[in-house]
Symmetry: C2
Subunit: 136 residues, 2 copies
DNA sequence: TTGATCTTTGCAATCGAGTTGCGTGACAAG
DNA sequence: CTTGTCACGCAACTCGATTGCAAAGATCAA
């Protein structure tokens, strides 16, 4: 696992106090985090600062965002070497019971045969159901 | 194509003035519609009435909702015989240029191998890119 | 038909996630 | 030291989604 400093350096993003704590928090979580999640975890950091930090991270492909249908955008750290190209896509899983969102890096992402003359640039794939903790 | 009356009857939803115009509008569009789209099209119908109508339609599986990342939930009429089960799932396509959302009923939806003990109940699959009109 | 009851509708208000404007302070270049 | 750029925190705002409430309409039993 790369460190906060290494990631920021590789992605050419200047290191600041807020960026460090936000990225450290994201790395420490196994589930994708919403702005509110981060806000609640980092009570001394302002919401708008976290917001702008997330935008910066997303622009620089440090994190990617997921629309899981919860009404809040979730963010997760990109895998090493990810460029957020179609080839880097992966499925997400949203648990209807515990409301957590996982990146399914290990589930193969198959090619989708689009209709004539449609071009894929990105995708947001969310499978919903029960996660291993909630599925009895 | 089924008529508005037939669909409401099959799905056991009482026919009312608002329901008729909303469903008729949805049927007439080839793209998924947001609440605002419908509001703009049906200028004599109140937003909250449309909103509650959409909720009713969704509960009764007349329509399904799509989170395409535009920030607005889009709605489209379910295909005939759809029960909104995993087997009825299909991909959606969001055009980054014209901001329209299509149901890709003809694109086969493959089984996804979830990790051990994860259970799929629904899915929200959105491919983003350029549609046939916008892809030069 | 009448009255009781339940549902639908329209209006206005509220909620909440996301976003922006602005002033301050830190840091860097010259 | 001066100047410029950038990050930060605070407060305000935007806008789609949602709800409370009362009036209008539908339903049903007598």
């Amino acid at each position: 696992m790369q460190t906060v400093d290494e990631i920021l350096k590789i992605k050419n993003v200047k290191n600041t106090a807020v960026r460090t704590v936000v990225l450290r928090h994201l790395l420490s979580q196994e589930k994708a985090q919403s702005l509110k999640d981060i806000e609640n975890a980092l009570i001394y950091t302002d919401r708008s600062s976290i917001f702008r930090t997330l935008k910066t991270f997303e622009e620089n492909k440090i994190i990617h965002s997921i629309e899981d249908g919860s009404g809040m955008i979730k963010y997760a750290v990109c895998a090493e070497g990810c460029n957020c190209d179609p080839k880097d896509l992966h499925y997400h899983f949203y648990c209807n019971n515990c409301n957590k969102t996982f990146c399914l890096f290990d589930v193969p992402f198959q090619n989708i045969e689009l209709p004539e003359n449609f071009k894929m640039q990105q995708a947001n794939m969310v499978v919903k159901g029960l996660c291993n903790n909630c599925n009895d």
